[in-house]
Symmetry: C2
Subunit: 217 residues, 2 copies
DNA sequence: CGGGAATCTAGACGCTGTCAAGATCAGGCA
DNA sequence: TGCCTGATCTTGACAGCGTCTAGATTCCCG
């Protein structure tokens, strides 16, 4: 039986399969999100039996959550890079972070939609039922999400300590930035109109209004 | 055969069935959105055969879109009432509109999630294929969405003409408000923490920052 | 080299959305 | 009044899905 050969060495090929499944799932959520994501289809493409994913993910949602986790990690990286590249001024850094956030959504629409899919929140609060061996993916997911949010909080803190941003609970101010970015991204994804460049420009405009509210005039 | 009696008069009971299906579907999307919405289940509760919905909705998505349409209508009404009740000052009216938006989402989480479900956008741009008789529900949906947005634009226009809000394209300024409201609502729905009152208070805080950016200082 | 555990497969179940064909009904025309 | 026609709904079927259970395969280690 030509089972499939992971680099000719099926040594503990278990974890390799897990990551392969996730990688393929990440591919399959583009561009519309996890709506059509099918464990059977993922398994078929990877080359394993239709029930193989069940051994690594308690259910379809758990697989989607893993995909979302990958999304948050990539997004974290993208924002980090953007902030590093920006000039060392709080306003510009915060703006860069927001733009990176939105740009990530535009470039990875399906992944982004998966990250914020309602269905994830569902099983998250729905099932106290123990998952097979998934080592509670949802707390992991919240953690990754919080990690991204933390980036914004840090920028706000920095801006405040440098007397560029108004005082106030950093979390609140950061939330303005993330909520606004999130809202803009969603609206961009739902509409079909406009090039990426146009949308980024539009976003900068809108975010400028936000900055006006945050900065010490 | 006790077919079911719509007020004892099965006179053209067709359209009655359509609205019954929608009404039941609106019920079934709570609280987690259209993820688990099932045409068969809706049909069962309404008391018709499992394939009856197909005669009024091209597919599952079309039914969900109808639900979303109801959502936008109700939201429009809620915001209108809130604005009317607010004092006649642009800032307070805009704030009231945003709060009403968020409050609607908190009170009708499933409906709200359905309104902004990724899956809807999917078939929206995906299938040029003619629907059976659904009289293109998606353009109707965009229209209803735009109608809600129009409320915000109008408020901004009013504020600008009264020299309370900064100048600038009303659409851009309005988008700050809607995007921020949307983002806040989504974040509230995804987290489980916090009472409704707490969240509204938090939202007011955040929206205050936005107003600072919009108002002429 | 062989036994035991980890890993994956095979098959089945109930559910889903969707389609095609037939039954049933309403209302207009004789 | 009674049939006829078209609209309306039902029935049955099909493929696909997620998930469960039991069994086959593979790997590791003594």
């Amino acid at each position: 039986m030509p089972r499939k050969q992971p680099e000719d060495r099926p040594y503990h090929w278990g974890e390799k399969l897990r990551s392969d499944l996730i990688a393929e799932a990440v591919r399959q959520v583009e561009p519309w999100g996890m709506g059509r994501l099918s464990t059977r289809e993922v398994a078929k493409v990877v080359g394993v039996s239709h029930a193989a994913p069940n051994h690594y993910f308690a259910n379809r949602l758990a697989l989607a959550a893993a995909v979302a986790g990958v999304g948050f990690e990539r997004m974290y990286d993208a924002i980090t890079v953007a902030v590093t590249d920006a000039r060392n001024r709080p306003s510009e850094q915060l703006l860069a972070a927001c733009i990176a956030y939105i740009d990530f959504a535009l470039k990875n629409p399906g992944l982004y939609r998966t990250m914020y899919a309602a269905d994830l929140a569902e099983r998250l609060n729905d099932s106290p039922r123990g998952m097979r061996q998934g080592t509670d993916w949802f707390s992991n997911l919240s953690q990754l999400k919080a990690r991204v949010f933390g980036l914004f909080v840090e920028l706000v803190r920095d801006g405040q300590s440098r007397d560029v941003f108004r005082r106030g609970k950093p979390d609140d101010v950061a939330r303005v930035a993330t909520a606004l970015s999130h809202g803009l991204a969603r609206e961009f994804l739902d509409e079909e109109l406009g090039s990426r460049i146009d949308r980024i420009a539009h976003a900068k405009q809108v975010l400028g209004v936000m900055l006006t509210g945050i900065e010490i005039r």
